[in-house]
Symmetry: C2
Subunit: 171 residues, 2 copies
C-alpha cells in the first residue's frame, strides 16, 4: 500500500522506449527498444520488491535458484556459465550468501582447484519462500496477457533467441 513499486526517485511515470525517434526508424530497432524496456522495468520491480520485502538482492536470488535443483551443488564455474556472469562476480555473490548461511562450499572431490557450492537447509527453505513471492510478482506483471498471447510471445522469443545465438557466434 505504502510501498512504491516503481522507482522512488526518478522512474518515468509515462513508460516509453528510450531514444524514441532518434533510433526508431527501423522496425528491428523499435522491437529491440521495446523489449529492453519491458525487461528493464520488470527487473527494477523485482529488484525493489526483493529488497523491500526480503532484504534480498536479485543476483543472490539468481544464485539460490540455480542451486535449488541440484542437491549436490554446482562448481563455481558452472554457476558462472549458467547465470551468464563472470567468474569473479560469482565469487563475490557466493561469499555474501555464505556469510548469510544460505549456501556452503566444499572442495571438489576430484579436483583440488575447484570448489562446489550448495544450498544449506536454511538456504533451501529461504529459497522456497522467495520463489513463491517471485512467481506472484511475475504473475501480476503479466496479468493482462491471456494464455494465447503468452504462448505466442513464448514462441516468438524462442525464434529470437535462435537468431541472436547465430549473430553472436559468427564472425
Amino acid at each position: 500500500m505504502a510501498t512504491p513499486l516503481i522507482e522512488k526517485q526518478h522512474m518515468a511515470s509515462t513508460v516509453r522506449e528510450k531514444h524514441e525517434g532518434a533510433l526508431g526508424d527501423h522496425l528491428e530497432v523499435r522491437v529491440w527498444l521495446r523489449l529492453l524496456s519491458c525487461s528493464t522495468i520488470v527487473e527494477k520491480q523485482l529488484r525493489r520488491r526483493f529488497e523491500d520485502e526480503f532484504g534480498m538482492t536479485l543476483p543472490r536470488f539468481d544464485v539460490l535458484a540455480a542451486l535449488e535443483r541440484s542437491r549436490d551443488g554446482l562448481p563455481m564455474g558452472e554457476l558462472s556459465r549458467r547465470l551468464l556472469v563472470s567468474n569473479g562476480n560469482v565469487t563475490t555473490v557466493v561469499r555474501q550468501l555464505e556469510g548469510a548461511g544460505l549456501v556452503a562450499s566444499r572442495p571438489a572431490p576430484g579436483d583440488r582447484r575447484s570448489s562446489i557450492v550448495a544450498l544449506t537447509p536454511t538456504g533451501r527453505a529461504r529459497f522456497k519462500q522467495l520463489a513463491g513471492a517471485h512467481h506472484q510478482w511475475i504473475a501480476e506483471a503479466f496479468a493482462d496477457m491471456d494464455q494465447d498471447s503468452l504462448g505466442a510471445l513464448y514462441g516468438l522469443l524462442a525464434q529470437l533467441k535462435l537468431s541472436i545465438g547465430k549473430a553472436g557466434q559468427e564472425e
Copy 2:
C-alpha cells in the same frame, strides 16, 4: 573475425534460461525468463561491440541518443526520467561525456538550479557514426526474424508493457 562477440571469459555457449526447472513451472515465469535472457544477451553483445569498436559504453551512448533529437538539449532531470536511471547516475555519465567533448551543459535560462545538457557538434557527428553501427548490430541479431514475426512481437510487447505498467502502479 578475431573479435569474440560473446563473453570472452564465461558466457555460456549453450544459451538457456536461467533457473530452468527451478522456477519454470508456470508459463508467465518461463516467458519472463526467456525475455530476460534475450535482453541480457543482446545487451552484452552491444556493450562489447561498442567497447571494442568505438571505445564507447552503452550508458554513454544512451545519453547521446536521448539528446540527439532535441537541438536545444535537455535538463538533467528529464534525461534521468527518459533513461530510467537515477539522477545521480546521469550526473556521472554526463560528466564523462563532457570530458570527452561530446556534450556541453549550460545553466537553464529560467531556473538557476537546473542545467541543460546538449550535444556538441562533435557529439552529434559521433552519435551518427555510433547509431549506424548500432542499427547494423541490431539488424544482425534479429536477422532470422521475418517481418511478420517482428510485427507480432512488437504488438505483444506493447500488450505486455501495458500490463506491466498497471502492475507497477497499483498498490
